[in-house]
């Protein structure tokens, strides 16, 4: 039987994929084709740029930007055993229609291990998960000693996918060795990095894999209870995880004496309440306990004294989703993927000025060039590549010189960036690096919990200095201040947030110091972003008085009668640049 897999990830849903799905359902039933085609509403396929997307088995034909009105034609073709060419992905460089998914450049270089079920199975149906080897790893694990499980994870070389990249097996081992009446497994689904959504997609697309990872971790360290701490901004993920928990309970994968063993495990969901810092493990535990999400000093580490003062192990969604994969394929085979010190795959959220935005799972060690240009399809609008920002507000940027750098934990650190949770934002020449740093700092300032002095006070000062610079009021000493204060904040802050918040500044200062200096000395923003350093002008000789700019101006700063050259009132202008984009005659210039 052929399967029609409609993407039900958040991206495609916002593109009305639900309506597409419903239209397909009606059409199949109208034509009595239910026996021939199985319709599934799946998790995210990753290629959000092209949404809503549909995958049709067995040939994995990949249809993009599907609208409900396309449905009758699509079904007509499928019924005939044909491919509906109109909706196939078009390779932008060659204009060729690509037949199958794995030939789509976006997927070609990916190695979808953790995402293997995403977009394939119906996340709200446990049977779908079971039929793709779901919970097999758990069954395998229950026959092993916990120490053996930990050894497997150690052998696999799995490192935490959420931030620092701490070896997962070692972490489990610490928790295993702590003696207590109760221990906890916590799944960190408080993915807060702007620009990262892999945990969301995993939770939405393959929730049982997350549960299975938690179960295995729980068995390994000797915990009986698990918590999933998830952002309240992810309602669909909450819903799918809740359904998965209920189904797993009903089938005996959660509860007492699991699968006839002596192992008991239950999982609760805790929804966050809007605080990025709760992604930090000790803050997250404070939050579960009903407190302000302020990090605790470590030691004591969670493995010794965590949630409710009990030993706790905390991993993020992607890390846990790797666990069943490792147990299924064997740790040694897994360890063959990736580089010497970074094993397995990593999911990146590819966004920004890149042609193919979406989620891509790649083996560790792949080069930046492959990710940006092969998978990402290069910089959008034919502009010039400038840099990528990797690791979100705690990360840094990589430039052209790093394009052939193999991406793994250590090489990124060396280059002044970090893996973080895997947000990868591509920037072109029209991105101002100072303004980018300012953006990240304003995020960190807003999300600082306020507990420790360097982060609470220091990030505000960094932001103020950057603000001065982008407004044209900076002085050269400010650059030194950014550097030294930034370093001191990194050195002396209490938690990971403060210890990494200045990274975007330090890294842009390192690679784009000249851009900073231009802002300070010449009062110029080369990317044309910093509004205070810009003004827009209509060149009268080029203006055809079409009125498009006037219509598009959000602040009504443009005046001009028909057939008269238009004018921009500087006092009203918000320097948004929309007029310049809209002008078909290039009559508006920035200076």
């Amino acid at each position: 039987m052929k399967e029609i897999l409609v993407c039900g990830g958040t991206g495609c849903i916002s593109g009305d994929s639900r309506l597409v799905h419903d239209a397909l359902e009606q059409e199949l039933s109208r034509q009595g084709l239910e026996a021939e085609f199985k319709l599934k509403y799946t998790g995210c396929h990753g290629f959000c740029e092209q949404g809503p997307v549909i995958l049709v088995t067995p040939k994995d034909n990949f249809y993009c930007k599907v609208a409900p009105q396309d449905v009758p034609n699509l079904i007509h073709q499928l019924k005939e055993g044909k491919v509906y060419d109109e909706l196939l992905y078009v390779e932008p460089t060659t204009n060729e229609r690509i037949l199958t998914r794995h030939d789509v450049p976006f997927y070609k270089k990916q190695q979808r291990l953790v995402l293997k079920n995403c977009g394939i199975i119906d996340p709200e149906n446990i049977d779908d998960y079971l039929s793709s080897c779901g919970y097999k790893s758990l069954q395998k694990v229950l026959k092993l000693q916990p120490e053996q499980v930990i050894q497997e994870i150690k052998t696999s070389g799995l490192r935490g996918r959420g931030g620092g990249g701490f070896p997962t097996g070692t972490k489990w081992d610490f928790a295993r060795k702590s003696v207590a009446d109760n221990k906890y497994i916590i799944c960190n689904a408080d993915e807060g990095d702007p620009g990262a959504f892999m945990d969301r997609s995993l939770s939405e697309g393959d929730p049982h894999a997350v549960l299975e990872g938690m179960l295995i971790a729980g068995y390994a360290i000797g915990a009986q209870e698990g918590y999933i701490y998830i952002r309240a901004e992810y309602p669909l993920a909450v819903k799918r995880l809740s359904i998965a928990i209920e189904q797993a309970k009903a089938r005996g994968y959660l509860g007492k004496n699991l699968l006839g063993s002596k192992f008991d495990f239950s999982i609760k969901i805790k929804q966050g309440a809007g605080a990025f810092v709760c992604g930090e493990e000790t803050a997250l535990m404070e939050s579960i306990q009903g407190n302000r999400g302020m990090p605790r000093p470590r030691p004591p580490y969670p493995a010794v004294k965590g949630l409710w003062d009990r030993p706790s192990n905390i991993n993020n969604v992607e890390t846990l989703a790797n666990v069943p994969v490792i147990m299924e394929m064997g740790s040694e085979r897994y360890a063959q993927i990736g580089t010497e010190k970074s094993k397995g795959t990593k999911i990146f959220a590819l966004t920004g000025k890149v042609n193919n935005t979406g989620l891509a799972e790649v083996p560790m060690g792949i080069t930046l060039r492959e990710v940006v240009f092969d998978i990402g399809g290069g910089v959008s609008d034919g502009k010039k590549f400038k840099a990528v920002q990797i690791g979100g507000p705690s990360g840094g940027c990589l430039t052209e010189e790093h394009l052939d750098l193999p991406i793994d934990y250590d090489s990124l650190l060396e280059a002044g960036a970090m893996m973080g949770s895997g947000g990868l934002v591509v920037m072109d020449e029209s991105t101002c690096m100072v303004e980018l740093a300012r953006f990240f700092l304003s995020f960190s300032r807003h999300e600082s919990c306020g507990k420790c002095t360097p982060c609470r006070e220091g990030n505000t000062r960094l932001l103020e200095i950057l603000q001065r610079i982008v407004e044209g009021n900076g002085e050269m000493e400010d650059l030194d201040r950014l550097q030294s204060l930034g370093e001191n904040i990194i050195q002396s802050s209490l938690c990971g947030l403060g210890q990494t918040a200045p990274n975007p500044i330090l890294s842009t200062l390192k690679y784009f110091r000249q851009e900073y200096e231009l802002h300070v000395k010449n009062k110029v923003c080369p990317a044309g972003v910093c509004k205070a350093l810009l003004s827009y002008k209509v060149m009268e000789d080029k203006c055809k008085a079409c009125g498009l700019c006037k219509k598009s101006c959000p602040t009504e700063a443009i005046t001009g009668e028909k057939k008269q050259a238009h004018k921009i009132d500087v006092s009203k202008c918000a320097q948004c640049g929309v007029c310049m984009e809209k002008c078909p005659f290039d009559a508006i210039i920035r200076g």
Binding site: P297, G450, K451, T453, G458, S484, N488
Partner: protein, 349 residues
């Protein structure tokens, strides 16, 4: 016991010590703003950061336990640089009207700025200003001077239990205050004043000391509280032979903790109603008398009754407010001078 090296010298300290405690016991001072013995260690001010060999970041010495072979630098260049920036950041958001601040000269922030030669801050920008709360009877709350060390929050929540204060908002907007900024009268505050005693700066100040004298002019005398039977140890703050306030003393079993009576109940000492001279009632009216006159009068009256009726006609009530020495002499007086065992006090009340 573990052996650790601090600033090049080896020390042997108990394994459950923090770096801070190990240093302190060996005469090495590490600056702290948020640390207070007996309260939860929050590690928030970061003043006490130190460099530990093999660790990339600086560590808060209050929160980091010692480990065997640990090598610690408490005043390295990195450490000093971090501390200087922390101080610069704190004073950038602090009401710097030190000239008339009651804590001038008795202020940790000031002391450390002096110690690390922080004369001014390069970080000029947003500065939080809050109106001073003078509404409660006992102390003022001037949050423009608050450095968010959180000790008032902890002592109120962890020792008193009233939990009147907490951190509100977050990030740069973080503020330590009561719910809805209510005046303390509107909260469950029991006016124990412990928050005032732990405040390292001038954010919480007893009203009674306002404009009464600079800290270095004030003498502190450790004594025992005059109220209930717990016998809290406290320090009386004395200026010009007058008590102007009370502060914590940690030598007693109260560990420096006090209640409203010990902290604010001392003013009766300076009451206008205090008796200043012996009084003898003549024709139903009290008249001032000299000690000689009064004692002679009393001795004469007692002697008369003793001779006439013997010891059984006397009774004496001593006081639970008087010292042991006085109580001893009182019963000795009753028994040996007035020949009676009719002596008691208010133990039953």
């Amino acid at each position: 016991m573990v052996s650790i090296t601090i600033n090049g010298n080896q020390y042997s300290v108990p394994a459950d010590y923090s770096i801070l405690k190990a240093a302190e016991e060996n005469g090495i001072n590490i600056p702290t703003l948020c640390y207070e013995e007996g309260l939860t260690i929050t590690g928030s001010c970061r003043m006490c950061v130190v460099e530990v060999k093999g660790v990339r970041k600086l560590l808060a010495s209050c929160a980091t336990p010692v480990t065997e072979g640990m090598e610690v630098q408490t005043e390295s260049e990195r450490v000093i640089s971090a501390r200087r920036d922390i101080l610069r950041l704190l004073i950038a958001n602090h009401d710097l009207r030190c000239l008339t601040c009651e804590r001038n000269g008795d202020c940790r922030l000031q002391d450390y700025c002096y110690r690390y030669k922080v004369e001014d801050t390069p970080y000029k920008g947003d500065k939080k200003h809050y109106p001073i709360d003078t509404d409660n009877h006992f102390f003022i709350r001037d949050y423009s001077k608050c450095i968010k060390c959180g000790k008032c929050v902890s002592i109120c929540a962890e020792v008193n239990g009233a939990h009147v204060y907490d951190f509100m908002e977050r990030g740069f907007d973080t503020k330590v205050t009561s719910a809805f900024d209510d005046t303390l009268q509107e909260t469950t505050c029991t006016a124990c004043g412990m928050c005032v005693n732990v405040c390292p700066v001038g954010a919480l100040v007893e009203k009674s000391v306002l404009w009464e004298g600079r800290p270095w002019e004030v003498k502190k005398v450790t004594t025992t509280c005059s109220y209930c039977g717990v016998g809290c140890q406290l320090k009386l703050k004395v200026k010009d032979d007058r008590i102007i306030g009370v502060t914590a003393d940690k030598s007693g079993s109260n560990l420096g903790h006090l209640c409203a009576k010990g902290q604010f109940g001392w003013e009766y000492v300076h009451s206008q109603d205090r008796l200043t001279d012996p009084l003898i009632k003549r024709n139903g009216v009290f008249e001032k008398a000299s000690w000689e006159e009064a004692l002679t009068y009393v001795a004469h009256r007692l002697q008369g009754i003793l001779q006439e009726r013997g010891g059984q006609a006397f009774a004496g009530l001593s006081s639970a407010k008087c010292t042991n020495e006085e109580n001893y002499l009182f019963q000795k007086f009753m028994r040996t001078v007035l020949h009676t065992n009719n002596v008691d006090h208010c133990a039953r009340l």
